[in-house]
Amino acid sequence: MQKRITKAAVIGSGIMGGGIAALLAGAGIKTLLLDIVPFDLSDEEKNDPKARNRIVEKGLQDAINSKPPLFMDKKSDPQLITTGNLEDDIDKLADCDWIVEVVVENVKIKQELFSKVEKVRKKGTIVSSNTSGIPLKDMSGHLSDEFQQHFLGTHFFNPVRYMHLLEIIPGPKTDKAVLDFMADFCEKYLGKGIVWAKDTPNFIGNRIGIQGMGKAMNAMLEHGLSIPEVDAIFGAPMGRPKTAMFKTSDLVGLDTMYHVAKNCYDMCPDDEMRDTMALPEFVGKMVENNMLGNKTKGGFYKKELTEEWKTIRKVINPETMEYGEYGKADFPCLQEAKKKSALSEKVRAIVYGDDKGAKYAWDVTATGLIYAANRIPEISDTIVDIDNAMKWGYNFEMGPFETWDAIGVKESVEKMEKEGRTVPEKIKKFLEAGNETFYKIEGGQRYFYDFDSGAYKPVPVSEKQISLYNLRQENKVVKSSGSCSLIDLGDGVFDIEFHSKMNAVNREMIEFMIDAHEYVSKNGVGVVVGNQASGMPAPFSAGGDLAFMLGLAKEGKFSEIDDFIKTVHQSILASKYAPYPVVAAPFGLALGGGCEVCLSADRVVANADLFMGLVEVGAGLVPGGGGMMHLWQNYIRYKPQVAKITDYSGFFIQAFMHVAQAKVSNSAAEARNSGFLRPADRIVFNKDLLIGEAKKEVLRMVDDCYVPPRKEKFPVFGREAQGMVWSEMLNMKTGGYITPHMETIAKRACYCMAGGDVPQGTQVSEEYLLKLEREAFVDLWRTEETQKMAEHMMNTGKPLFL
């Protein structure tokens, strides 16, 4: 029978259960969310369905209110979720195709729950547990074979929507077909990165992660470092998330972290580094005192508000358990690292330094590398799964083995041995065999070292994925400049890849794109505009190159800015009217110029996590790449099929407000609701599959006999928009809601989007609107206020309202 998941159930509505339900709903799957009936109901309440669902309702509400949002579309996604309780609604599990258990980590409760589930579950329904530590065999051993064949572990990470990792754990009897189906489903429909884990305590991510955390905390006390010093090292300089060690703990919750560590300690009596998993005493005390991190408004760090409403940040002193203010932590090794550009060099500079911070970093890193090596084959057969788990579940830029490659395996092992550390036999053998790195690239293929066979094997990559990195190694780059490349994706499809800082759109890229289109018009069938930048959130393109334009403005070279915008428009229109399909593949940040590149594409294949918006006003500008025109076209052409003159004010105000308030979507679903994405644009859940899907889209459009859009005149709202917006500006000014220059910018944006002073409904050309846009753009650069605003945005990343 064809397997399909049309309806799912999530049992347990805590932060993880709510997150999984939100993700399923976002993927369009009807979801039943269940939780227990509260224990403390009065006799009267016992018959009140509302009271009986109190826990699950609160869980759902918390998920809806969560920040960052767990739901991609807060309005319509929750409507796919039905709530209920385990006493009255358990029969409803009978129509579910997948039941995921996310209840409290107690083996007995889980066993009893699965016994109940077994009674109502229809044959063939897949059941999984989101346990983070309890062995699957312990919770399912008492169940029927048919149940166990459909039972597995699906371990999501918090926050579910944003963490890419999903550990899939086969149970003792799980059917291979079920595992393959779920891996495919979770990768494609839910967008997760799949790591195969074994049924061992805490699986992969949390096993390696908690050892690292425990070691870092214990070593901090031994080496005499402070909390901010540790975070300064194990943050960005080491390729770790900015929240580093302790801020991450505050984010996750000290109780959760403590529980994971304790679970590991209790269940791994033979672990050679068990001691490192026993968290320091002061952490235990903090948990006892309910100092659990952000959720209790104080963990390792704490924010306090002074009487003058100034925020001061404080950190706990592990010895005195008191909070105190702290300054910026620094070490010579961090200064060295700052001078390097590649991450591998930064990490080398830190772990091989000789100051106090460096010695600490080396101790923690060396211990972690040895620990990871010792876990093969105990928790995983391959280094790839371990590295992926740490990258996708903990947001490390490099997993342990990639880190090891980065600092040099031979060099580091020598240092380890000199210090009397026990280097695993398999590593020694690896080196003795003359190997140097765990990963290598040969003939465009990435290989990893397999300890079991003692040989290199190709890194398994889903066939749906296209890796631009690999294509580069295979010499598929057709053209390249410093910040942009044209890469041959095969089948006549070419990718325009941005690779500037934050992928900001600059002059070089604009000019390159014109050349690239020349090339493709002669040699290809279509273009994908996409890249594979990483980060949280990753930048598809974070905007335009402010520094370049500010430089020109300061020198008074306004005609050059004017020329630049002319070139931008030429490039945008070259893409829009190219005789072949152009598909943009945005993800993460698609702001300003990045958003405009997408708006001018024939189709967008977007990642579900999309933060898209025209944010130029924050830098004192109006959008300069046709963004206002295209957004307006989206409104009048696509939002309803036919917009009439009487509908214009409603559409115009919405479209205009997106620009005037620099609104950014929280997801691709929201971008669609706000008109940035059109009805035919697609949303892809898995970022890794984005380029592949975009390429497929190009080929499909070619197959469907693509013709470019007709260059037609289209109606604008004209002077009537000026009347509406200017009169509203008076209200905003009276209310103190808008500053003078912001008002100027807003009015100018209104002028551009409305097509100036023509009567409403006038049919205008694109050239006319682009000319208005260009004039506004250059005029604003002429003002001192815009120059100040742009400079402030460049230096601080935050808008200055003048």
Binding site: Q722, G723, M724, S727, E728, L730, T734, Y737
Partner: protein, 402 residues
């Protein structure tokens, strides 16, 4: 000149925009109920009514196409009963009554209805297609300014504090709560309300009931609660949803007769409309209107404020109502307007902060309330006044008939 007598003056309840009882009831239906009731209570045949004028601030869409004529037909008046729509924004309802009174006073007419309608749910404030003149707004947009902004201007320019506004709002609510509880709104006509409800099968059916109270009154309001509300129109402002009038759906109607008609139909008039006046003020502080209109009314009729026993001063915003009372020397003596005072003569049963301000209806609605209050208290002279968007003030003087 002849006299024009108020014979019957009634209103529907005022119900909250969007969430209130009339949100799905067409404005024509509200108006139909109250006009038919006015004729019914007067004991007239419909053909006796010569003309119907309806005040409306946004006479478009459901309220458009000359609702005065539409309603005369909807109510079943004969073809000979004519109708007109009158718009002077917030005084439209009073304007309609005054226009009919003038026609009667000049001998052009004997029996007429003046009223008002506004469903702020169905036709939004500002209308469905706001189109300020593009050149005008660039030169001076004041005439298009939002009412909330004018309220902030009044508060800022004349030092009306947040505390004063909240206190005033609190008393408005308490006065209304008292009147509701004691059933003092004798002019209120229970009015059919309709709401469409989806049943379990997904079918839709209307649910209809008689709405017999103003649903915006907040009996449980406290000063503390009002103090917690955020400013609604300015970043650091003092005007909140709590100390502003409510946006409301409602209708009201008044039947007016000449002396000859009073005799002919043998009815007992409640009062006569003695005078009506309008004055202009700065558009960006339109709320000060009554502070100029009422003195003008007194001046032109040769009366003194002390002669007037009761006032209905529309509470568009507490800030402007307070300022107007201050200018007339009636604010500092709080017993003139507080809910716990027996001596109160201003908005004695609460104002628009509690009962709502259905723009075009308000003038007609306040007339009906004033008639009830003047009769109940035996007050000889009563004044109704309001500020008007665009920068005006209107005031009407009524004399109770013995």
């Amino acid at each position: 000149m002849k006299e024009a007598y108020i014979v019957t003056s009634l209103r529907t309840p005022g119900c909250r925009r969007g969430k209130g009882a009339f949100a799905q009831t067409r404005p024509e239906d509200l108006l139909k109920t109250v006009i038919n009731e006015v004729v019914e209570q007067t004991g007239l045949e419909k053909q006796a009514v010569e003309d119907i004028m309806v005040g409306c601030s946004f006479p478009e869409a459901e309220q458009g196409l000359n609702i005065g004529r539409v309603i005369s037909q909807m109510c079943g008046f004969p073809d000979t009963t004519t109708g007109a729509t009158v718009n002077r924004f917030c005084s439209s309802g009073l304007e309609a009554i005054a226009l009919q009174a003038m026609r009667i006073k000049s001998g052009m007419c004997d029996v007429a209805i003046g009223g008002g309608i506004e469903s702020m749910t169905i036709v939004p404030m500002g209308g469905n297609l706001p189109r300020p003149h593009p050149q005008m707004v660039k030169e001076n947009a004041d005439v298009y300014i939002s009412m909330g902004a004018t309220a902030e201007n009044v508060a800022n320019r004349y030092n009306v504090t947040r505390e004063m506004q909240d206190e005033f709002a609190y008393h408005s609510q308490m006065k209304a709560a008292n009147a509701k509880q004691k059933n003092l709104y004798k002019e209120l006509v229970p009015t059919p309300a309709t709401k469409w409800v989806e049943d379990a099968e997904g079918s839709w059916a209307p649910k209809t009931w008689n709405q017999d109270f103003d649903d915006g009154i907040r009996e449980n309001t406290t000063m503390e609660g009002l103090g917690k509300l955020r400013p609604a129109f300015a970043a650091n402002g003092s005007v909140t949803a709590g100390n502003s009038s409510q946006t409301t759906d409602g209708a009201a109607a008044t039947l007016i007769m000449s002396e000859e008609a009073v005799k002919k139909y043998n009815v007992k008039p409640i009062a006569r409309l003695a005078y009506y006046t309008v004055t202009g003020v700065r558009a960006d502080e339109m709320g000060v209107g009554p502070a100029y209109a009422i003195p003008k009314l007194m001046r032109e009729t040769g009366m003194k404020l002390e002669d007037v026993g009761i006032f209905e001063v529309n509470e568009a915003f507490a800030s402007q109502a307070i300022y107007c009372l201050q200018q007339m020397g009636m604010y500092d003596e709080k017993s003139l307007w507080t809910s716990d005072s027996d001596k109160r003569i201003v908005n004695v049963n609460g104002g628009a902060i509690a009962l709502g301000h259905p723009l075009g209806c308000t003038g007609a609605k306040l007339c009906s309330q004033l008639m009830t209050e003047m009769q109940a208290r035996g007050v000889k002279w009563g004044v109704e006044s309001m500020c008007i968007g665009g920068g005006m003030g209107a005031a009407g003087l009524f004399e109770l008939m013995e």
